[in-house]
């Protein structure tokens, strides 16, 4: 037993020495993601994307020179220091998220944190970072309450529900300018936390843009039949419908709309059900022209985003998705701030993050820029709107980023 402890001690010391030796030329960033459990796949995809981002920063990639730090190797203001990711699994569990954050900060001595997919994990983990005064950047958790708690060390790059809602309304306003009717809209949403909270922000955004909600329908996503709702929509004749739905209900809506021969002019699906590959296999043929959101678009051949997608596909065997892309973007923003700070001191990084002002051309995601407000939320966060053509969603809005002309009206099965 004594011998065993001795060996353990020696190993620990050895590890400690090894870490000490590399600390000078790497910048350690703690990452917490769900690597096991229900969302394990999403977490693994995100970590693979973060590793690609670190690789782009650490190696010279002159072909992606519009991204800050891509062209050269490492962080130039820190003597070419490399980014080192220290990844931990939070299992989708908020208290595990806290434990891992604590461990990464106190034992791994990371200079900043990034995470964490689940909103409820981000909510608790950021509290630890706040207590220890370590910047925590959030790439993908969208719950509104993560920012706005008076925290000084939380920064969030991703668009949140209010951004999406505003984008939908701006899109509809653009349709109006082209002479299409959009005055009356319908909001159809499932009745749990996700549906009701997004519907609430959509309602506010509609009011702000002077659009009238003629049908406000909440339903149970596990229900067996959606015919009454579709009959109601058919009767109220909204100019556009926004669905906030999960998979099986989104599929049922499309099938029932076809069965009851109801073809609205604009169908917008808020991610979730409409983004599930099963949705496209099941009803893609009868849901042609559905509009969805994504801040990620592969872009034209040879573009930076196209090259990133190529690197990512080579590593994982599948294309980059919106969630993983938003995490990559967060790491780029963080690295740019650390480089600008010219220091790994938390206060210096915090100050640099507060002064961050990135333009759309410097980003890989479809944000209008990155600039944090008092609460740490990116005020320029935005999303693309994508439309279903055949089996693929293609960016159609905003016009400057469109890869395909918007098809109006919704084609459905016709």
């Amino acid at each position: 037993m004594k011998k065993l402890m001795l060996i353990a001690g020696a190993v620990t010391m050895g590890l400690g020495l090894a870490c000490g030796a590399t600390a000078a030329d790497t910048v350690k960033i703690g990452v917490i993601m769900p690597l096991s459990g229900n969302s394990g796949n999403a977490g693994k995809s995100a970590v693979a994307a973060l590793e690609i981002a670190a690789q782009i920063i650490n190696e010279a990639h002159p072909e992606m020179k519009n991204l800050p730090l891509a062209a050269g190797a490492g962080l130039p203001n820190l003597g070419g220091a490399k980014i080192e990711l220290v990844v931990a699994d939070h299992q989708g569990n908020p208290s595990e998220g806290q434990n891992q954050t604590l461990r990464l900060i106190t034992q791994e001595h990371v200079v900043a944190m990034l995470g964490s997919y689940h909103s409820n994990v981000s909510f608790t983990a950021t509290a630890i970072a706040e207590r220890y005064g370590i910047p925590f950047i959030i790439g993908d958790s969208v719950a509104a309450n993560i920012t706005g708690r008076g925290f000084q060390w939380v920064f969030r790059t991703t668009p949140i529900a209010s951004d999406f809602a505003n984008n939908y309304m701006e899109f509809l306003s653009d349709l109006k300018k082209e002479g299409h009717p959009v005055g009356n809209i319908a909001v159809v949403f499932e009745n749990t936390d996700y549906g009701t909270s997004v519907a609430g922000t959509v309602r506010e955004a509609a009011k702000a843009h002077g659009l009238n909600i003629v049908a406000d329908i909440t339903y149970n996503a596990n229900g067996a039949d959606v015919s009454p709702q579709v009959i109601q929509l058919k009767e109220k004749k909204p100019d556009a419908i926004i669905f906030i739905s999960y998979t099986s209900d989104a599929i049922l809506y499309m099938k029932t709309m076809k069965n009851l021969d109801y073809l609205p002019r604009v169908v917008i699906g808020d991610d979730s059900g409409f983004s599930d590959p099963a949705f496209i296999t099941a009803v893609g043929d009868i849901a042609q022209g559905s509009i969805n959101r994504s801040a990620w678009d592969v872009g034209p051949k040879g573009s930076t985003t196209y090259l990133i997608n190529e690197m990512y596909t080579k590593k994982t065997g599948h294309g980059l998705d919106d969630t993983s892309g938003r995490n990559m973007q967060a790491l780029f923003v963080l690295a740019e701030a650390i480089n600008r700070a010219g220091s790994t001191k938390p206060e210096a990084i915090q100050k640099a993050l507060r002064e961050t002002d990135l333009k759309p051309a410097q980003l890989m995601m479809g944000y209008k820029g990155v600039k944090f407000d008092q609460t740490g939320q990116n005020t320029l966060a935005a999303t693309y709107l994508i439309q279903l053509f055949g089996k693929d969603y293609i960016a159609v809005w905003p016009p400057a980023k469109a890869q395909h002309k918007l098809a109006y009206p919704f084609k459905g099965w016709k």
Binding site: T218, A224, D225, P228, Q229, I231, P277, A278, V283
Partner: protein, 285 residues
Amino acid sequence: MIFLQVIAGGLLIGAVYALFSAGLTLVWGMMNVINFAHGEFVMLGMYVAFWAYTLMHAGPAGFSALAAVLLFMLGVFVYLLLIRHVMRGPMLAQILSTFGLLLFLRYAAYWAFSANFVTLPEGLFGPSLNVGGILLSAPKLVGGVVALLLTLGIHLLLTRTAVGSQILAVAEDRQAAMLMGIRPDRMQALAWGLAGASAGIAGALIATFFPISPTVGESLALIAFVVVTLGGFGSVPGAMLAGLIVGLIESLSAYYFGPVYQDVFVYGLFVLILWVRPHGLLGKA
């Protein structure tokens, strides 16, 4: 016109509920056993239809028949291996054993088929039927007609044939039936087989318009228990009637008051009817 469309929609989904519930009420009525795994039987029927279509390009008649045969076998199998033994134990063991079967089948389906949704292609039964401006979904219409035929068939089998009389005799008094030369095990295995077969047909037909996943039983099973209780324990025509009533009330309340309130009306009526008629609409006292 809109009103008639809402009514038609309600009757169609009601017929689907009746179809779903036929097998459940059969087992309940014949053996006084609650089969909590009934929804999982239907789920397996859906997967049989999906795989028969995907691998063998079987048509609706083909995959429904296949689902009926396979689920008949499963029903017999479950009776012989599980139910027959727990029937000798306390009531609680019977309830928990079918509940265990539910979990086993659901998670086995997760393992075998993954949690992703799959679907049969749209329009296997052609476009909606237009009857004087009212659109009737073809798959639900077929489901409704089959539910009716199935209900009628089971009813005739139980009331007009020797086998049916034997099944009922066993249900009435196992000992007395044995003394009359009836083999109760064989009859009860047959009842489970029939229940399985009707669940299989129901699953295959529901799969033509409903997304398939291991948890699909959850969406439909609760309503099936309401339908069976409302119709009267063990009464197959009662389940038909109750299914239609529940579908109609759901549809009307969802249209006039909003879909989230439909359960208030359905369960309100449920309590009311049971208060007046504790044995259900067509159940025997």
